[in-house]
């Protein structure tokens, strides 16, 4: 595990020295190369000059607004960004995701959670193979055959349900906002109520087909006020 990540570099941006220090220690132990910045201005410079593979960015920096930092980083590079925030506020999360962040963690968080998020956002960097068969637990999605199986039984999903599941499993472990689903699956750029209702109904139907207990979903998790996340499976 440590070996394969040895070449990956992570930029940690947080104004709290103690937080930078524990992230640096624990991520280095997992074989990541870690370098730190305490300000938004430095983060912008490092996001290009230091060639990080992933940026972990605190939203509450003293010198710049978090969303502004994300937007400016996005103008320069596509490097995945994971947001750290003390507020558990869906509006703030959505704004950060819309500005170009890939995922978020609410402080305090465990290193286990952070590693799962890192793994999930880094999957975006890997090229999609041609014969892709994606797995999550006992759920398998065969992209070439457009086929879904659960515990070796084929599941009959509608084309829309399939599109949603495919989007979620390609991004397994990563949050996908309502807006992202509407854009990718229905090609809608606005999230008016009618289409959101359709999304909820489709999601409910999809869950009743793939969840062992649809009343207590374990594959597709709801991110309150933000979107959905297919559980990461490691």
């Amino acid at each position: 595990m440590a070996q394969e990540q040895a070449h990956l570099r992570i930029l940690v941006v947080d104004d709290e020295k103690a937080i930078r220090s524990f992230l640096s220690t624990s991520l280095s132990a997992y074989g990541y190369g870690v370098f730190e910045a305490a300000k938004g201005k430095d983060a912008l410079a490092d996001s290009v000059d230091a060639h990080p593979d992933v940026i972990i960015l605190d939203l509450g920096l003293p010198d710049m607004d978090g969303k502004e930092v994300i937007a400016k980083i996005r103008k320069r590079t596509k490097t995945p960004i994971i947001i750290l925030s003390v507020k558990d506020d869906p509006a703030e999360k959505i704004a950060a995701l819309d500005a170009g962040a890939d995922d978020y963690l609410t402080k305090p968080f465990s290193v286990g959670e952070l590693l799962a998020r890192l793994k999930a956002v880094m999957r975006r960097l890997l090229p999609l193979e041609k014969e892709e068969v994606l797995r999550c637990g006992k759920l398998i999605v065969d992209i070439t055959k457009r086929q879904v199986t659960l515990e070796n039984n084929e599941v009959n999903v509608s084309p829309t349900e399939y599109d949603i599941l495919k989007l979620l499993i390609i991004n397994a472990g990563r949050v996908i906002t309502h807006r992202q689903i509407l854009r990718e699956v229905w090609d809608k750029t606005e999230d008016y109520e009618g289409i959101l209702h359709l999304l909820r109904v489709t999601m409910s139907n999809l869950r009743s087909k793939i969840e062992p207990n649809p009343d207590r979903p374990t594959y597709i998790l709801t991110e309150p006020g933000v979107g959905y996340r297919l559980r990461s499976d490691s």
Binding site: E193, R200, S204, R216, T218, G225
Partner: protein
Amino acid sequence: MQKTGTLRTRIYPYAASIGLVFVTTLLGEFVKRKLEPANIVMFYLLAVVIVSIRWGQGPAIVTSILSVLAFDFFLIPPYLTLNIHDIEYLFTFTVFLAVGLIVSTLASKVRKQIIQRQTEKLHSALLNSISHDLKTPLVSITGSLSALLDTSSKLDAEQKQELLETARGESDRLNRIVNNLLDMTRTESGVLRISKKPCDVRDLVGTCLGQLKDKIGNRNIKIDIRPDMPEVAVDFPYMLKALLNVFDNALKYSPDGSPIEVMVSCADNKVRVAVRDHGYGIPKEDLGRIFDKFYRVERSQNVSGTGLGLSISKNIIEAHGGRISAESVPDKGAVFLIELPLE
């Protein structure tokens, strides 16, 4: 506090002022043959003082003006007109108004100081209780970590693991307390801004159970939701918080291994979510107070908590125009019933 009051509580002091002027005038009618009008003025002054101490400056000024008018109309000849024979009364009115204003200003200042002192007292009691709650987990965290740092060589691997787990568990507890305090300040009356959107109640309940999966463990959760439940307009993240606290409460106050039932139904244009546990129940005398801030049932001292969870739920549910109530048979369990209006 005053500003968030309802229309009724804001109108009441003025109505009371009018009433008091009325009563004073009646009294004046009785004694006007025996007393000089200048002495009757003293009754009105008393009314102004009472109103300003009790309800503050605004109602006191209204009382002063009404007093002058009533005094002139009913008690000074010619009666039942605002005309006056004796120009001296003009002087009496002016002095009365001036004295009324000064007295009401002074009295309402004293009143404000009293209220401020009471609030400060409440705040320090609150801070005291919060600091105590925060300190308890901190003691264990500091203790465990310093044991690891200072006496590391004397501890075997198992003891070290135990100390680390204590520190971890207690920091989770600390985090829960801080989150509860934040939720409390956010949801207290008048502050909470919710944005209602239609939502799938099944998803709400499922997400709640998912977030509590570590606490639930293998416990049997029976869920009864009609498949054709209509959607209900709620602020999903806030309503999730409200449900989480109710569930967490049910889990905490019932023995490990006992089942918990969730029933979602829909009738009379309302969605009802009932959460039933088979635990210790709530003593009858506590039923009315379990949704109060910082209130905890006496026998629950060995269950960790801040006494804020259920009052946060209540704030959130009421901000949605709904209501929450509890029923219980002691030692048989409790049922929490949440009712939300369907639009």
